[in-house]
């Protein structure tokens, strides 16, 4: 029965049937609600990142989180959406035809799309606009990830260029390859790998892609002044507002239901309830596992690590949430809770990379794990015909199918290599051609970026906050 309902949702055959049309209308509403929830995640990111930074940089950090919404949006509005989704259509919510066609490549090997530039032309219907709104919200999530790892030492004008670049080019590439029907999605045909590369709501497309930029950006900037002592030992730089960060992480959890559940693209596809519940399961297990793991490691339930644990669980379950059983969502959360803490330690202690909020561990490391988790835990009950394949349901190695894990490993590897090179080159070139580089002057950094860059203190009444 479940399979039957599911197929009805995906393959709309009788287009003028009032019931089908009503289903499309409700599904479009579901997408717009999802978009609003995901956009609210920007508030969560702003609170988490600002809470984890020091008071003297608080205005700068919250402002990057604020402005990146519009910057990324503008890049995506003009060209990013066309690059990523010019060839996309999905009748379940009434987007019956794509707005454009292939720009680079053809058949199983499409690399970029075109059409609907700046949302103009006759093909722009309410369904397309609802879809755009949902997709631009995902892009903005990617765009705001590096603002955390690069916080407290990133020049404002350099950051502005990143926001536009992310929305216009950086994000749309993997989005085109994964969700737009590009070559990664077609690996079921070109390479006989499972249902092709599968990422339900963006462990790879959004989080790994953002996490990779967080990594390369932090490498190019270098650590904050005073982060490592002369022996190379990491020093703690405690965040100035832990309650703010924890509230932010709950806002992210709230928004994440839009991120994952609405990724069914259809209110008529009841698997949205599975996605929502699996999301909450991974968040709960991730947070509590991290609480126990950090207590074991350092003696206290460090609230910053509990936050990272919850977010790590969310990131990791995002790619698989519709394809796995509740027990698997719990396992994904548990693994992420340990992984995120060990990754923070490894990145800081071994690689000597300074990431004030743990963005690389949360989004990059847990993102890669989330991509692979599809190929491990998918139980075959959902995703028939995914990516246009003949799959009867996305199946991981627990169902004896190794092909899907192959597609997932390929996807993760492609993201690390392509986005790694792209973002590293971007930051390096920008650093070379920007007067004085993309990093703030030592003087500004020591004083705090709030006055030199933004002209206002976050907390003018408190002298000690500077």
């Amino acid at each position: 029965m479940k399979e039957l309902f599911h197929n009805l949702a995906q393959v709309t055959v009788i287009e003028d049937d009032p019931v089908v049309i009503l289903g499309q209308q409700i599904s479009l509403m579901w997408i717009v609600i999802g978009a609003a929830l995901v956009i609210f995640m920007q508030a969560g990111f702003a609170l988490v990142e600002t809470g984890f930074c020091r008071a003297k940089h608080a205005v700068h950090v919250v402002s990057t989180n604020f402005a990146v919404f519009g910057l990324g949006f503008i890049g995506f509005f003009f060209i990013g959406f066309a690059f990523a989704f010019g060839g996309f259509s999905y009748s379940a919510f009434g987007m019956t035809a794509p707005v454009g066609k292939a720009l680079i490549g053809s058949g199983d090997w499409i690399f970029l799309w075109q059409g609907g530039w700046a949302l103009s032309g006759n093909a722009i219907t309410p369904a397309v606009l609802g879809f755009f709104l949902y997709m631009v919200a995902f892009m903005d999530t990617t765009a705001t990830i590096p603002t955390g790892s690069m916080a407290e030492r990133w020049k404002w004008k350099s950051f502005v260029a990143w926001g536009l670049f992310c929305g216009a080019v950086y994000y749309p590439i993997i989005a085109a390859w994964t969700w737009g029907g590009g070559w990664l999605a077609r690996t079921w045909s070109s390479m006989s790998l499972g249902a092709g590369y599968v990422d339900f709501a963006g462990s790879g497309v959004v989080h790994t892609v953002g996490g990779v930029a967080a990594l390369t950006g932090a490498i190019v900037l270098g650590p904050r002044i005073g982060k490592f002592d002369k022996d190379g030992k990491a020093r703690a730089m405690p965040g100035h507002h832990i309650p703010m960060a924890m509230i932010g992480s709950f806002i992210l959890l709230f928004g994440w239901f839009g991120f994952n559940a609405a990724s069914t693209f259809a209110a008529t596809d009841v698997q949205f309830a599975t996605a929502a519940t699996n999301t909450a399961i991974a968040a709960a297990f991730g947070a509590i596992t991290a609480m126990m793991w950090i207590t074991r490691r350092t003696g206290k339930p460090d609230p910053a690590m509990m936050v990272n644990g919850m977010l790590g669980g969310l990131v990791a379950v995002t790619g698989a949430c519709a394809f796995v059983a509740p027990w698997a969502a719990a396992v994904i959360g548990i693994v992420a809770g340990v992984l995120v803490i060990e990754a923070v330690f490894f990145i800081e202690r071994k690689l000597k990379i300074d990431d004030p909020v743990g963005a690389i561990a949360v989004h990059g490391v847990c993102g890669v794990f989330g991509v692979l988790a599809v190929g491990i835990f998918a139980n075959g009950s959902y995703g028939a015909g995914w990516n246009g394949s003949g799959s009867t349901g996305v199946s991981g190695i627990i169902k004896g199918d190794w092909g899907q894990l192959g597609a997932q490993a390929l996807g993760a590897g492609v993201i690390i290599v392509v986005n790694g090179l792209l973002s590293y080159t971007f930051f390096k070139l920008q650093n070379k051609f920007t007067k004085g580089g993309i990093r703030s002057s030592a003087e500004d950094e020591i004083q705090g970026l709030d006055i030199p860059e933004m002209g206002v203190y976050a907390y003018p009444e408190f002298a000690g906050a500077r």
């Binding site: 990491a234 950090i294 330690f345 800081e348």
Partner: protein
């Protein structure tokens, strides 16, 4: 006239205030302060890295009193501020040569 200055634990402030009033004090000035003493702070971890909390939050009290009640006030303050644990703070007394009440121009003990 004497100026009594005390550095005490912040959570003791209310008790101290009541004890000072009972001892005949008319007014106090309170400042939030941070500092370290012989204890020298303690070590915590944040995101797995250790750091020293060496400037502990304290409250600084300044009390102007007449010579006659100075000892009584100090004794009351010490009694109210003490927990017997490390970090209880200090109190010291200094001589004050001149005091003026700004509103009226009164000087000396009248101005306290």
């Amino acid at each position: 006239m004497k100026l009594i200055t005390a550095i005490v634990k912040p959570f003791k402030l209310d008790e101290i205030k009541d004890a000072l009033k009972a001892a005949g004090v008319n007014g106090i000035t309170v400042t939030e302060a941070r500092g370290f003493g012989r204890q020298g702070g303690h070590v915590e971890t944040y995101r797995g890295a250790e750091y020293k909390v060496d400037l502990v939050p304290k409250v600084r009290l300044e009390i102007l009193v007449d010579q006659a009640i100075a000892d009584k006030v100090v004794n009351a303050l010490v009694k109210a501020a003490g927990t017997g644990k490390i970090g209880d703070g200090k109190v010291w007394v200094t001589e004050v040569s001149r005091v003026v009440r700004i509103r009226t121009g009164e000087e000396g003990p009248e101005a306290i």
